[in-house]
Symmetry: C2
Subunit: 237 residues, 2 copies
Amino acid sequence: MRYELYYWPEIQGRGEFVRLALEEGGADYVDVARRRGYGVDAMKRLMAGPRVKRPPYAPPFLKAGKLVIAQTAMILHYLGPRLHLVPRRDADRLWALQLQLTIVDLVKEIHDTHHPISSALYYEDQRPAAKRYTREFWRQRVPKMLGYFEHVLEQSGGPHVFGRRLCYVDLSLFQVVDGLRYAFPRRMGRFEKKVPRLVALHDRVTERPRIAAYLQSERRIPFNEWGIFRAYRALDS
Amino acid sequence: MRYELYYWPEIQGRGEFVRLALEEGGADYVDVARRRGYGVDAMKRLMAGPRVKRPPYAPPFLKAGKLVIAQTAMILHYLGPRLHLVPRRDADRLWALQLQLTIVDLVKEIHDTHHPISSALYYEDQRPAAKRYTREFWRQRVPKMLGYFEHVLEQSGGPHVFGRRLCYVDLSLFQVVDGLRYAFPRRMGRFEKKVPRLVALHDRVTERPRIAAYLQSERRIPFNEWGIFRAYRALDS
């Protein structure tokens, strides 16, 4: 099966959680909107065309044969068994989805550090609120949420959330740590000693051959200031 | 199977989306934290006890036999087929989950109208940001998100998201409309004419015998100013 991923071509964004799974799973896939001369228009047609009976609300979404699947966590829930990136038992699949949904919640809060008032306004037009949001985010939310995943890794025995075997949740946790390092090098540098298992998981994922090759390739879009993780100095002090 | 729902006892909150499904499905369930002399402590033990191998991050969560399931949308995804509140086909179950996840996103944004900076601060300490957030929310997000669900109902032929047959997503859409009416009577009053199918769906759900009985019962906690939908006059002008 050739999968088609639909996502904005200029950013890692939420699509990156799917890209990492497709890469690690060795999937045959096309990153549709990044193809020249095709791109974003094809994506938009699938979202809003009058003949689309079940339109996705927003990218990312995945086309798998006739099925169109949106929502990051649900795409991963669907791909997991097909790419051997989740155990087969129902209870395990649900546990992975539950963890992934908590990552989705965290990612939204990370996004809101630079856009706490509205995504329709520029960062520059909500900077004071962004500073205050970010302060509370690092004071309250990062310890609670990353602390939760650290605890999950402790309970599993590590190094992954299912113990010895990698699953798609581990890839997403890698991306969260990687993104927080990019966006908040100083804050994250100070915080990392509190989540040693998460940091070890990040490093271990980096060393997987397929992920290492992907991170070196042009398929990995560099972090930038249009995505979820943005390096704004004013927010990292 | 007797289900155990774990959620804060004083609010509708996210737990309400689960309660509505349990009620409409005629499930045998206990709302654990609302039982006297038992309550919230039992909930907290399941979240953080050293013997909990797979701890939920936050309520609501559902205990079904030995399985503990957190995240509102996932609880509904699990309950759906068991309570006959979703069609059985895999593609249909995924479509319902996808819609529910978009409702989860909307609910988070509704919550943030009164807490845009931090849930750890009082509303009174973030009122200017809340006013600005709410203005943008009604200008940009409500038309886009409720407009999306209106479009989904149009594509399905109505009155429900699967056409003639009710599913758990319809119950959640009822709750969204009901909550927005409570929190923003003036804004919602003006907006409703743009989403006639959603309003008709709300009214139709209200008339279902089990839901009507539930809404009249003491099991339905009244809306109040500790939950997701809060009636703050300053935000509704």
